[in-house]
Chain length 391, copies 2
Amino acid sequence: MLAQRMQHLQKSFIREILKVTEKPDIISFAGGLPNPAYFPAAQLADAAQKVLLGDGQAALQYSTTEGHPPLRRYIANRYHRFGIEVSPDQILITNGSQQGLDLIGKLLINPGDPVVIERPGYLGAIQSFSLYEPDFRPVPLLADGIDLEQLASTLDAAPVKLMYTTPNFQNPSGLTYSAQTRAKLAELVGDRRLILVEDNPYGELRFTGEHQPSFWNLLPDRVILLGSFSKVVAPALRLGWLVVPPALLDKLIAAKQAADLHSNYLTQRILYQFLQDNDLDAHLQTIRAAYKRQAELMVSMLEELFPPEVKFTRPEGGMFVWVTLPEEVSALALLEEATRQNVAFVPGQPFYVDGGGQNSLRLNFSNADEAAIETGMQRLAGALKTVLAKR
Amino acid sequence: MLAQRMQHLQKSFIREILKVTEKPDIISFAGGLPNPAYFPAAQLADAAQKVLLGDGQAALQYSTTEGHPPLRRYIANRYHRFGIEVSPDQILITNGSQQGLDLIGKLLINPGDPVVIERPGYLGAIQSFSLYEPDFRPVPLLADGIDLEQLASTLDAAPVKLMYTTPNFQNPSGLTYSAQTRAKLAELVGDRRLILVEDNPYGELRFTGEHQPSFWNLLPDRVILLGSFSKVVAPALRLGWLVVPPALLDKLIAAKQAADLHSNYLTQRILYQFLQDNDLDAHLQTIRAAYKRQAELMVSMLEELFPPEVKFTRPEGGMFVWVTLPEEVSALALLEEATRQNVAFVPGQPFYVDGGGQNSLRLNFSNADEAAIETGMQRLAGALKTVLAKR
């Protein structure tokens, strides 16, 4: 009975792993969760009171597909601070940026269309796009961003319509595109007819290094931006957004309307009230400082406790460190031993649509305090020792 | 650049009409909105306080794709009261039932698949399904439900995979399937391999007549139920649900995960708290009593002020009355005159995927108090008089 497109969809491997991590006493670096210690629950409670008691009838009614206009203006203004000129009219509020990915796939991908993704690539994008049956063309990530040589030959080989990137602190690798890579990529794309997606859920979580330019300015009218409040306020709100070139806007709104009429309006109102009454920058400073400490501790323990043949990224922001084991060591075998020693992570394999990555793994540092990172990384080093001894 | 499926999608005609109705002084029977006078804003504010101050860290974090387990149990228990045995495990929380429709299309429809819908049919379903490029097979609605003779020949003509119904107080017609029509329909479907969707957003809004049996019991393992809190609590929460046969569950959850990870968890928690602390049945009684008064007033004014050649339905619940003008009178022409006289409605045409319905229109009675209905219907009668005089 199922539609053809559903044949491609697997139950998420990560979901299965997360079940393992639910056993008590386990320290999990597996999930991609922000640290709940920094969720502004009391401030959101105040905002909810104001909205529901002050304007409850309107805030509980059906609303526009595009999203709450003042919230869209707020987002546009925030972009302006980073030199990105977008109009509030180009912004569509979505149910987290995951829905943005689904809408992009729906809008643009025909079965068989070549779609460039990073290798390793973000699993959420792989899952959403998969349902529209693209022909994925993974291009490897290097230390300073996507491999431009490989990208050039991929773009020459087929008429690529869509290219998906996460240039800041990528999930899963933690890598960031350098300014040079961005400029060269834009040059390479030149006037090819393709849409480049810049997914940027962690952009405001930079804790070291310098802000890098957006593709929005490098490739005018051919970039879709994706953003999210999940990592800067709270994920349960399910509020993200798309910024799209004007030519795509009407069809995108129609697709969103068909998908769910509009995003949760009450929550949009509460979030906007929260943003009016609180200093988001001060809040972000707190999160950044905490994640910096956590990331630095995790990296320093990788340096100290792990053999030099183990390689890892040094993220400048975001939530993840990417670890590469010696080629013959399986991350799945390590996971088995690690869970025995009460620590968990996500093996790298599912991030590769074309196989590979067996010796890689993703560590999340955002959702663990320093004590947990200390103990967890000791356990992980112990587990690796056991696995390496069996070689 | 657009995907093939997007060619089918039009900007909603109703959206354009709703813009007209925004002018001040207009009385609108156009939207499909519940009456905001009955939104429980203060009670939801209390619930929000409890959730955010009592368990904010958990309530603001990522959550499960299926939805908040206690809320799913609550929904299952409510079905049990109507003799419908479903397990909470079969329930998936969606962003309003509109998302349920999109997920059904994604899960089941291949391009060209024959899909039965009612004629006139619910626009939201037509829009969602359209994106999966079905071959719609509209079957007319009669006073007591779908035309069984036409349905029989439609099912014989092609291997129908999916059949979409709204058996209670349908949108747009306000019609309800009789018990006999339901039984005969189930017989007719027999052991054909098809999935029947029973969309029931207004089921709890019956203000006269007797509750009718669900297809869930008549066609075991072949029915998908759709439900929503939009009309019984508030639409801005964007919380609806799907109940699916076990065989479809895993793929459906995977599709939902790809679509947006999960529905707004904070709102699920707030809604569940509200349902714990308040008497939903008492709340529903208030809404039903109000809608009954409003519907009866609208129908009585149709009887008194409109010529006998104008036909209309007499809904037993829900939010809509369907009006059929003399065949040669265009509802679009009436709308033009009506907006001039400061009253609005939705013309019937967009509810017909195969054309037709030019002389029909939908009136919403839920989102207008009795004074507005009185004045608005007088204006509409005046507008019709003007249009009829031009014949």
